[in-house]
Subunit: 274 residues, 2 copies
């Protein structure tokens, strides 16, 4: 059982504090308890939170760590003041001052609010991309592939769907995905819907043992899930992608975040700049 | 045109550097050009990147800002060394040393790698949640609603689908979504599939004008999209949720990130701690 708590505290969603805090903590062998405290947007809420933090300190005998992104000075002071018994990592403060000097302007003391984001073009593009990716999941519709930014190809259950949705949600990329199936392998030809779009295709592959495990969860004991069949499909798919000049990546030991970033870099380097 | 570039540099995906950098920059009226440079995992790549940064400095006449999450000391030194003409915000460094002292242990100089994440239970849960949310999108399947962590309800096109997918992808929450349709309003009853699960229902609503706009993009000129019909549906849906004791939120000025965090806080506060 962990005997140390980490609090992610923000006047917004706290996603920034959490993402950053997780990166830092990954550098330590410690396994603390994580507590998210979003929307701390008043002095009252901050006061109540300090009481919670101090109670945690009493219980655990070690001071909690607080990763803080709070723009309002008055609210922030409650957390950074003497009553709070935590070790506070004030993430904005550390970088705001040097940037104020560099930019020659004062900061406006607002955290990056997702509400502002919600009204932006970038946000609409993300929502549109999600709808596109859903409508073009698993080869459902081939007719708008010309509008796709990226088309993921690979055998059934190799990770195409979550990766497409992540590309859409995080990066506003219209990511279709199209399965390679036994019929294609028998014909030894890329599905005809894809031939015009080879340059924006990206392949996913997977270790056959892992694929067998995933497919057996879905259809236990089927020919579809059998290890021999998984080996056959993966081999054929890789050979087909090689012939077509489609680059690919294995999803076995990679997360959707890593796969998506690689696809962006290799297929849409323009989208690395915005 | 922006005359200042911001680089997000990492030996991993760079998502941490970017999320954090965006939060900081949101505090300034500046609109810089953003450049993502992920997977900088060798001295050679770092050298090449420093040349790119220095060329950018020449062109823009202002030193670029670099948000850096690089764990390897040798590679990091290339970016923080004297050849690099950027203002470098070394994000890990600022917090690692105080934490080493607090924990009484050395850091292991590894950035939070998503590869490690990919093997974890938490990651499998996220992928499973994505599959669940897809299979339970738009009331497609009512039979496994008992297994859902959250059920989003609301009129067609109010933002249920992207929010469910985000809850699944970011938080590993099995989020089903179920539409409220004119048939339900005529009967003045919550869909029967939902009555047993009221406590995990969360409503989304939307400004009728915005709804009309969204629906007209999909089915221009239809009765479905008409403002009068949108007003009727939204009113009826809100009245129905009120009667059923389901709390709700408007998606009109909120992002999926904010809605998802609110749902977590209100419906699954247990998931704020992990």
């Amino acid at each position: 059982m962990p005997n140390r708590s980490v609090f992610y505290v923000s006047d917004g969603t706290g996603i920034t504090a959490e993402t950053f805090g997780n990166s830092i903590l990954a550098q330590f062998a410690a396994k603390p308890r994580h507590v998210r405290r979003p929307f701390i947007d008043s002095v009252e809420k901050a006061d109540k939170l300090v009481s919670e933090i101090n109670e945690t300190f009493e219980q655990e005998g070690r001071r909690p760590i607080v990763f803080l992104t709070l723009a309002n000075t008055e609210i922030r002071n409650v957390l950074t003041g003497p009553r709070c018994k935590a070790m506070v990592m004030d993430m904005l403060q550390a970088f705001i001052e040097p940037l104020e000097e560099e930019f020659g302007m004062k900061s406006n003391h607002r955290v990056g609010r997702f509400s502002d984001v919600a009204k932006s073009q970038e946000y609409s593009d993300r929502i549109e991309a999600i709808n596109f990716s859903l409508a073009h999941d698993d080869g459902q519709s081939a007719k708008n592939l010309a509008m796709a930014d990226v088309i993921l190809v690979g055998v059934s259950r190799c990770g195409k769907t979550p990766t497409s949705l992540y590309l859409a949600m995080q990066h506003g990329i219209k990511a279709a995905n199209y399965p390679l199936i036994p019929d294609d392998f028998e014909r030894s030809q890329l599905p005809s819907a894809l031939t015009a779009h080879k340059r924006k295709c990206f392949g996913l592959t997977i270790d056959p043992d892992r694929l067998c495990q995933i497919r057996n969860e879905r259809r236990p004991g089927s020919k579809y899930a059998a290890l021999e069949n998984c080996r056959y499909e993966v081999n054929e798919a890789e050979a087909m992608m090689k012939r077509a000049g489609i680059s690919w990546l294995s999803s076995t030991h990679k997360s959707i975040e890593e796969i998506a970033t690689t696809i962006l870099r290799d297929i849409r380097p323009d989208r690395l700049i915005y």
